[in-house]
Symmetry: C2
Subunit: 128 residues, 2 copies
DNA sequence: ATATACTCTGTATATATGTACGGAGTCAAA
DNA sequence: TTTGACTCCGTACATATATACAGAGTATAT
């Protein structure tokens, strides 16, 4: 039984076009097309896509994942460095969001205290 | 003295092309072009762009800002709802990032405990 | 043998937010 | 009056991550 592209996509819960996109990006290898019939996707490729998806969940971009896949059998130290950078990244983003949260809460509080619906403290704050 | 597009851009610390982009998007109105000479940007337009930029800092997208600008003199309630949605949004993103942070920290900890540089717990975790 | 579903290929489109460029027009200053 | 800087306009490109589509081939089920 041939493991066609749609079976791969379905088993991973992703779109067929996404598989093709990864092929074009060089993240996975496209199986050879037989003279007759459809391409057969080996388990190793399916695993590789699963790896990609899990890496995305850790916040890595496809380019970074490309790097991870390439240093697959390389020293743990390099991988560690990538992850540390990513962690700092995440923490920076969280800080930015916290600031944003504070700002939004501040204006919302003013809105809640506001009795006159014709005037909006939020809009006024933006007009400054 | 004509307030040309480059003066506007410079005074706001943004790119000329960004101003044009906002014009194309319909966020601001392009001043009429005089028979001779350059377009003259009124203060109201400059203020409007400043409003846009401040709104972006609060995390609103240009489309949302479009909405804010349209309900400019409208009830505070609607504005408030937008801001609340945005706040929830931000908080959701922060939660996602926190989960990400935990995951990264976990694998990094394993990497640090790892003596053998040939095997990487992070990669192994992704391979699962 | 025919209908229906799937694959393959190349290319276009989507999203959000801009940035860059070429060629023609215009302005300001020396 | 020439030079250098700026504007205007339309269009293309950039980023990241996909998704969609058309037309031809192939497989499967009845």
């Amino acid at each position: 039984m041939v493991n066609t592209i749609s079976k791969v996509a379905k088993s991973l819960g992703i779109n067929i076009e996404t598989v093709r996109f990864y092929e074009r990006k060089g993240l996975i290898q496209q199986p050879n097309k037989p003279k007759i019939g459809y391409r057969d996707y080996p388990k190793s490729t399916v695993d590789r896509i699963a790896f990609i998806k899990r890496s995305q969940e850790l916040g890595f971009t496809l380019n970074e994942i490309q790097g991870l896949l390439n240093l697959n059998d390389n020293p743990c130290k390099q991988v560690q460095e990538m992850a540390e950078t990513k962690l700092l990244n995440v923490q920076q983003k969280m800080q930015d969001l916290q600031q944003l949260e504070r700002a939004l809460k501040t204006v919302l509080l003013q809105c809640e205290k506001n009795a006159n619906d014709e005037i909006c403290p939020l809009i006024d704050a933006l007009k400054k």
